[in-house]
């Protein structure tokens, strides 16, 4: 594979990756900080560089509805949104997964109103955890690029047939310029089948019923099939990432383990925060601390075994979470980790730190402060602690 390097923002990286995929349909409504994705793509459409049918709709509810309709014809479909836009799609997210539409959705993770705020926070995507969508997070413009292309392959796999969303944090990734190793059209054609492999679809030639009323008789069976598809997605995502690594030389795994081999303590995070955690690991390692970092790239299906394997033998884990769940015993991610590890041997004590809401920066010294606190809590025999950091009280 011929490697070329280009400077791109996270949003541009998504747009250029979608361009290589050239989906049949894109339906979207603009919202900061997603806007550039759709703006760039509308340029590609207007310039005739792609042959995607571009549907500018009047709301995100309509965007996702148009995506479902298009996907049901067997089309390859893409959309993008953020924050309130994703919340407005929420009803149709369940329709997309229930109708087994492998739509790909890029989320420019942004805080919810009120107060109104346009900056980075992952709550918008995390609250969609139960919608039966495969869900990934990306740390950089490069991962935004790569996850765009992989998402189509994961969701469209015949054993999965589920929609996939991937998130990059607003401004921190969406609007920041980084180096991106690009792929060629040929690379993507080699990686991704030219068309979806669809058994049942809207067709004028064959009469079928879709989306009919299903009550106590079959509803649960259909939902069980979604759960099985989600379990398959775990295996498929691993395979797709391995194949992608083979093709590009960029190591891509459902969880990323950084200096964990001999570590006694660990950070756990996702998205851009994982980059800061790794930078802190480098600094602490220079001082002789045995510390590593775990990045969760795949959030749904949750990689239970991989997380246990990565954390086995670690004493304390500092969870850096750019999301809050009010009045909850743990954040979404901390709750998932705790459930994954509960009752298992040699697992770390878990210390959650809610930070970075509405784009607030958590500085590297503040991350070190959280780490030192977690170590003390561990010594005191505490586990499942949770607190907010980096705010004025």
């Amino acid at each position: 594979m011929l490697k070329q390097v280009r400077g791109m923002t996270g949003d541009e990286a998504v747009a250029y990756a979608v361009k290589l995929v050239n989906p049949d349909v894109l339906a979207a409504y603009p919202i900061t900080p997603q806007t550039i994705i759709v703006e760039r793509y509308s340029d590609f459409v207007n310039n005739g560089e792609v042959d995607t049918s571009f549907i500018p709709v009047e709301s995100e509810h309509s965007a996702m509805s148009a995506c479902v309709g298009a996907s049901m014809t067997g089309a390859r479909v893409f959309t993008a949104t953020a924050s309130a836009g994703l919340a407005l799609m929420y009803e149709i997210l369940y329709v997309a997964s229930g109708m087994r539409c492998p739509i790909v959705l890029a989320v420019a993770n942004r805080a919810f109103s009120a107060p109104i705020n346009i900056h980075g926070e992952c709550t918008d995507q995390l609250v969609c955890r139960d919608a039966s969508w495969v869900s990934l997070f990306g740390e950089s413009a490069q991962e935004a690029y790569d996850e765009t292309i992989m998402s189509f392959k994961i969701g469209e796999h015949p054993d999965v047939q589920l929609p996939t969303m991937f998130g990059i944090e607003g401004f921190i990734v969406t609007h920041a310029l980084e180096r991106v190793e690009t792929m060629s059209k040929t690379d993507v054609e080699e990686f991704l089948p030219a068309e979806r492999d669809v058994k049942y679809k809207f067709s004028p030639d064959e009469v079928m019923t879709f989306g009919s009323l299903v009550l106590q008789d079959y509803y649960m069976e259909i939902k069980r099939q979604q759960e099985e598809a989600m379990q398959n997605a775990y295996k498929v995502t691993k395979e797709v990432m391995a194949e992608f690594t083979e093709l590009t030389g960029r190591k891509m795994e459902i969880v990323e383990k950084y200096q964990l081999e001999d570590a006694e303590h660990a950070f756990i995070s996702y998205g851009a925060t994982a980059g800061n955690a790794k930078a802190v690991v480098n600094k602490l390692r220079e001082k002789g601390e045995k510390v590593g970092a775990l990045k969760i790239r795949l959030h749904r299906p949750f990689p239970i075994d991989d997380i246990y394997d990565a954390l086995k033998g670690i004493k304390s884990a500092t969870i850096l979470d750019r999301s809050a769940t009010y009045g909850s015993p743990g954040t979404i991610v901390q709750g998932d980790i705790a459930t994954a590890l509960y009752g298992k041997k040699d697992v770390p004590t878990l210390h959650g730190f809610i930070n970075g809401l509405g784009g607030r920066v958590l500085t590297l010294p503040q991350i070190i402060e959280a780490y030192e606190k977690a170590k003390v809590y561990h010594e005191e025999g505490k586990t499942l602690t949770q607190e907010w950091i980096g705010y004025r009280s």
Binding site: R6, H175, A274, R285
Partner: protein, 186 residues
Amino acid sequence: MKLVEITDVRLNGRGGQGAVTASRLLAEAAILENQYVHAFPNFGPERAGAPVTSYARICSEPFTEKTEVYNPHIVVVIDPTLLDDVPVADGIKEGGTIVVNYEGLKESLMRFFEGCHANIYKVAGSKIAMEEIGRNVPNLVMLGALIKVTKLVKLESLLDVTTRRFPGVLGEKNVVAIKRAYEEVE
């Protein structure tokens, strides 16, 4: 593993002067030289004329941190009127570099930086922009001065990304202006 230090650059400008474009082109020039970057604006409710900042982190090795820049090694002051309104030397690292768009004598510029331990340089960026481009858009002009005194990227790389971003007359005019700032910075 020895950590390679990242160079943090802050550009202080006013909304509409192209501070964001400047940080982007500086980063793109660094990418041409096979460096690693994270360049970003500080987005908020900016409007034309309001003080704005943008940043570029540059390093010869890959790096993963994505925090904001609080202690830049280098500051570029794109608009001279900021000197009265904004503490442009805020957080500058000891021994850092500040490059100011300033038409007067260097001695008179220094009154804005009393007690500041940075190296101060100046170039008449707005004058050059007016004479060569015909508009007061000194953003890329100031990069010409910046790279001369810091050697952050080569002049050719900056000119390359400039002409790619602005093909045609505008790019050519900017090239002349950048070269002048490169020569005239003191």
